[in-house]
């Protein structure tokens, strides 16, 4: 039975493990110090330690990962998304070590991974691109040179990392004053996220929609484009909700876009799974934005409307299988699917990260609900990696059905111990613009700015009273524990409720007795 090493963590590692199981392949996990008891480690057939918690010393360590693959006897390496998924050096290192990288060939990763080279490839395939700079800035480019290039591209513009992805290393700039600062922060973020500080400029289209085409391509020349996904609900360039199909795309444009995507992929000699992202302007014209040479976070919505398992196909294509899916099946959506990315962030404090111990987790279920997650109760969400902990995807016969199901599923979601973006989604799915599909990539940042941090779910006065009394009771127990002495058995009370322990125990009688003694 061939084994697959999954060079990733979190929900995507879990997703790939499941595909391995479905195909009867062995699943090998890797982990860093803080991920010793992570869900992907527990679910895999075997797990190998690759280094300390910092991503640079573990999930980005090419030598350690290739070594783990060899020691485990894995013959395939699935990179997931993020980390080394679009790193040509990693793809090459796998090939050099005799491992099959589940993805395109290293030179294709390099070509399409450079956003500027990919734009050129799209132009050559006859696909329009968003206007922007032809080449990235040199590392030592002067402020004057940057300003001059920006004037040529025109404002508003977007500073983008050449190696970027997932909204990292990206800044929107409205005018010249903010430019130099934006370039600096984008470079710093790009360096820390991708190990490559190169950035370039792109014109910002007015109120565009983000629409993308999933592709599968086998090693025998078949390229299969899928029905589009729309990912226009973004916060700071980071997708937070994705759906398929788009409400904005007429079927004729869908076919044109799919054909354009397939042309780019064919011209690049693309193999395995990839996605071509487009922007759709207000007049219904589309522009090539970039290509992701890997599986995407939002792949479940495509799986839900086509019934095709993309991760299984990735593994099969990597083993040389022929892609024998009927083109109509991939291009014809059956019903509607929507996905929410659930982050360990506090939506009521401007989405600040909320790492910590997940003390309990209750996940929605029932018809049409799919939950892909990478955490379990008892796991401490580390500060070292992305804050996404789960993806909630729903399917409905129509978009209206899907939205209703999403609202229902979100109400069932409960994560105790850390704050999550669930309350934000509960609010979002009830907004008229969301219900009507009347949004573009600027929608969310605009409405969030208008709300100025008003909480997404308002507590009732009874909720507030209960919370106040509970907080006081917690402090009361804490005081009694201190009075009774730390080492005495049975005096741990709320200590057990702190983040350090997941199983609280109370001793009410002792606490009451201690108080009686103190007051007598």
């Amino acid at each position: 039975m061939p084994k697959v090493l999954i060079a990733n963590r979190g929900e995507i590692a879990v997703r790939v493990i499941r595909a391995c199981r479905d195909l009867g392949l062995g699943a090998v996990a890797i982990y860093s110090d803080c991920d010793r008891n992570a869900l992907h480690v527990r679910l895999a057939d075997e797990a190998w330690h690759v280094g300390p918690s910092s991503a640079r010393e573990s999930y980005l360590r090419i030598d350690a990962i290739v070594d783990a693959a060899k020691r485990s006897g894995a013959t395939l390496v699935h990179p997931g998304y993020g980390f080394l998924a679009e790193n040509a050096t990693f793809a090459r290192a796998c090939a050099d070590a005799g491992l099959t990288f589940v993805g395109p060939r290293p030179e294709v990763v390099a070509l399409m991974g450079s956003k500027t080279a990919a734009r050129e490839a799209a132009l050559k395939a006859g696909v329009p691109v968003v206007p922007g700079s032809a080449a990235p800035f040199a590392a030592d480019a002067s402020d004057a040179a940057i300003i001059k290039e920006a004037d040529r591209v025109g404002y508003p513009l977007v500073v983008k990392a050449v190696a970027g992805g997932g909204g990292k290393g990206m800044r929107t700039v409205a005018s010249r004053e903010a430019l130099v600062n934006a370039v600096r922060t984008a470079r710093s973020e790009a360096q820390s996220s991708f190990g490559d500080a190169a950035v370039y400029l792109e014109r910002r289209l007015i109120e565009p929609r983000h629409i993308e085409i999933q592709l599968l391509a086998d090693e025998h020349g078949t390229v299969l484009p899928f029905v589009e996904r729309e990912c226009s609900i973004q916060r700071r360039h980071q997708k937070v909700v994705e759906e398929s199909p788009s409400m904005a795309l007429p079927p004729a444009t869908r076919l044109e876009m799919a054909a354009a995507a397939a042309r780019v992929a064919k011209a690049a000699g693309y193999t395995n799974a990839g996605t071509i992202e487009f922007l759709l302007d207000r007049d219904g014209r589309f522009y090539f934005l970039e290509m992701n040479t890997r599986l995407q976070v939002e792949h479940p919505v495509t799986e839900l409307v086509t019934g095709i398992d993309l991760v299984q196909w990735q593994l099969r294509i990597a083993q040389g299988d022929r892609l024998d899916v009927a083109p109509e099946q991939a291009l014809t959506p059956r019903g509607h699917a929507i996905e929410c990315r659930i982050y360990a962030e506090d939506p009521d404090t401007g989405f600040l990260p909320s790492p910590g111990l997940v003390r309990a987790l209750s996940v929605p279920g029932g018809p049409g609900v799919r939950d892909d997650r990478g955490v379990a109760a008892g796991f401490e969400i580390p500060v070292f990696y992305d804050s996404m902990i789960a993806k909630l995807a729903v399917w409905g016969q129509t978009r209206t059905d899907a939205v209703a199901r999403l609202a229902r599923a979100l109400d069932e979601y409960r994560v105790v111990g850390v704050k999550t973006t669930v309350p934000f989604f509960q609010w979002l799915v009830r907004q008229p613009a969301f219900l009507d599909g009347a949004f573009d990539t600027t929608y969310l940042d605009r409405v969030l700015a208008d709300r100025r941090g008003r909480p997404f779910v308002e507590p009732t006065s009874a909720d507030e009273d209960a919370a106040t009394i509970t907080a006081a009771l917690a402090a009361w127990f804490r005081a009694h524990r201190a009075a009774a002495g730390r080492n005495e058995v049975g005096t741990r009370f709320f200590d057990d409720l702190s983040e350090n322990e997941s199983r609280p125990r109370f001793n009410w009688r002792r606490a009451a007795r201690t108080e009686a003694l103190r007051s007598s």
Partner: protein, 172 residues
């Protein structure tokens, strides 16, 4: 015992008096909330407390997590609240900027790593001017000055790992 509980931007006074046990994992309490007495039964759950108001039988399931010393996160089924019990000034959350006067301590809102320090001691800063950039979960979070004033102290340097609540900068 009486506590001051800062919650949802206001301070409430709660006094707690134990009046006996209620089953192996429960206790009964006389609680006075902002001067109004009530009788409460509290039972431990695996995650916190099940509170019952003995007057009308209304029950609330509240999960309790201590996020930092004296700062409690209280999660009801559909809403999470933060309360600070007796102690530090309440850090105002949401609802727009509050008028602030006097010395202001800017602390790390979450654990992470300082990637940039944007000011030095003696700098004049404007309201909402960036002071320190803390990276956590791959995102850079710029922490801004709560007031216009002068930087009195910078307690961290670039590369410092910080825990939640750690002092970063004092603005006076």
């Amino acid at each position: 015992m009486t506590f001051e509980v800062e919650i949802q931007g206001r301070t409430r006074t709660v006094s707690i008096e134990s009046v006996g046990a209620a089953g192996p994992e429960g206790g009964r309490f006389r609680v006075v909330l902002d001067g109004v007495p009530r009788s409460v039964c509290a039972r431990a759950t695996d995650l916190g407390l099940l509170l019952t108001d003995e007057r009308d039988g209304r029950t609330s399931d509240v999960a309790v997590t201590e996020r930092a010393a004296g700062e409690w996160m209280l999660q009801l089924p559909h809403v999470a609240l933060t309360a600070v019990v007796d102690g530090r000034r309440f850090r105002r959350r949401g609802g727009g900027p509050a008028p602030v006067a006097g010395e202001q301590r800017v602390t790390a809102p979450m654990p992470g790593r300082v990637v940039r320090v944007l000011v030095k001691v003696g700098d004049e800063v404007a309201l909402r001017q960036g002071l320190v950039v803390v990276e956590a979960m791959k995102m850079e979070n710029e922490l801004a000055s709560p007031k216009a004033g002068r930087v009195k102290e910078v307690a961290v340097t670039e590369g410092t790992s910080v825990e939640s609540g750690r002092l970063l900068v004092i603005v006076e």
